[in-house]
Amino acid sequence: MTEQFEPLIIGFTCNWCSYRAADLAGTSRLQYPPNVRLVRLMCSGRLDPGFVLRALAGGADGVLISGCHPGECHYLEQNLKTMRRYWLLRRTLEQFGVEPERVRLVWASAAEGVRLARIIEEMVEEVRALGPLNWPAVAGENGDLAHVLSPQALHKEEVSSEEVVA
């Protein structure tokens, strides 16, 4: 491979802290790699583990989850739930063969633009070193992910079965 691999990282950020930190990094004209695509949640506690799985199965090479420091959650203790979920998910993903560097949980307050930019830089380099994830069972030939990211696939969850004979 002559061209440098550019990892795709999906970043889930909390509205009250890490999203603001990313914003602060931007307004401060700090540079961080464009490999991370931020998704704003109201709280890191909103993060359904399924979001992470869908990101990985759908073509992401890594997932960054960020929230408020413990004790600073705007919804009291939801970030603690995030941490419990994260460690359960991490242990599960280890069994699925996902390197721990690919899914990270970090805390960043609204004032920590510099810290968040540095973490993103660090993570991009780590994932770059690991190489593409290309989730095995889902990627089609040539890494084509169209069928995973199609509107039909994404809306699958909303389709529910109708009457049940019981």
Partner: protein, 344 residues
Amino acid sequence: MSENGKSNGQGKLAMYWAASCGGCEISFLNIGLRLLDVDEAFDVVFLPCVADFKVDDVRGYDNGYIDLCLFNGAIRNSENEAMAHLLREKSKIMVAFGSCAYEGCIPALANLTTQEATLRAIYLDNPSTDNADAVLPQPRTAVAEGELELPELYETVKSLDQVVEVDYTIPGCPPEATQIWAVLQAVIDGVELPPTGTILGADRLALCEECPLTRDVKKIDRFYRPHEKIPEPDVCLLEQGLLCMGPATRAGCGALCPQVGMGCRGCYGPLDGVEDQGARMLSAVASVMDVGQSTDGEAALERKIQEAVDTLADPAGTFYRFSMAHSLLRRARTNGDGRDGRPE
């Protein structure tokens, strides 16, 4: 099914096993005397577990000859897949019968490892196996009489709906006999069938809704494996630290396992609208863990949570015990290049 214009007024019923244990057939036979009603309504045209039918019999049928095909078992080799295609072609209604056909079930736990490791565990490393010549199954073997063929074993175990179109699903490992009969009775009585894709023979609520154990406050600081703790009777198992898949599992079995002190295994699959049963259960379990506080300091907090999480043995195998083939990830990544597990 009698209005289908068959000469003898009977519908044609088939039941086949792919990668399965035979439990689905046992459960089918467990409908007891109702079998006489089934026999009256249906002409059984393929049921290799119980009677002597040949695949050539099925090949000889016209397309759509079989009215109702109950297909159990996962798809893990080329024979399973070929039978799925054959029976799909010959059947008007194809039912994914039981957890294996529905979502991979126990066979699909092989997706957490490689084919090589699976074969090694079965044929070489198993302490009760005597295989001095290290013989492994081969797709083709030359013998004096000619060449013998075995089906090709797939790297990734699939569910039935990943290889053919499925009309209905009856979940469970195995489906409960009462539920099987409820579905068959509806078919025999000519009740209008629900839209295709519907889950039959199950409820729409979580298993907890039909579980008689008492629920109070869920706050656990660690997990116990079944042999580590004798559960208090009548108290929610999850509240006692015994992992129970009830919150993420479809009701319909009558909560049989929790009532005898064993946490729900999750065999009825996810609830409506849930794509990944394991992720949903993982989320629910994390919410009831009461470990660590904000005042602990970040390092101590993380350590406490890790220690508590590590009391849960085999999280992937627990959360995805039945739903691996239907999960978002479907299989583990086993060699890092991301290509080995691609479906055949």
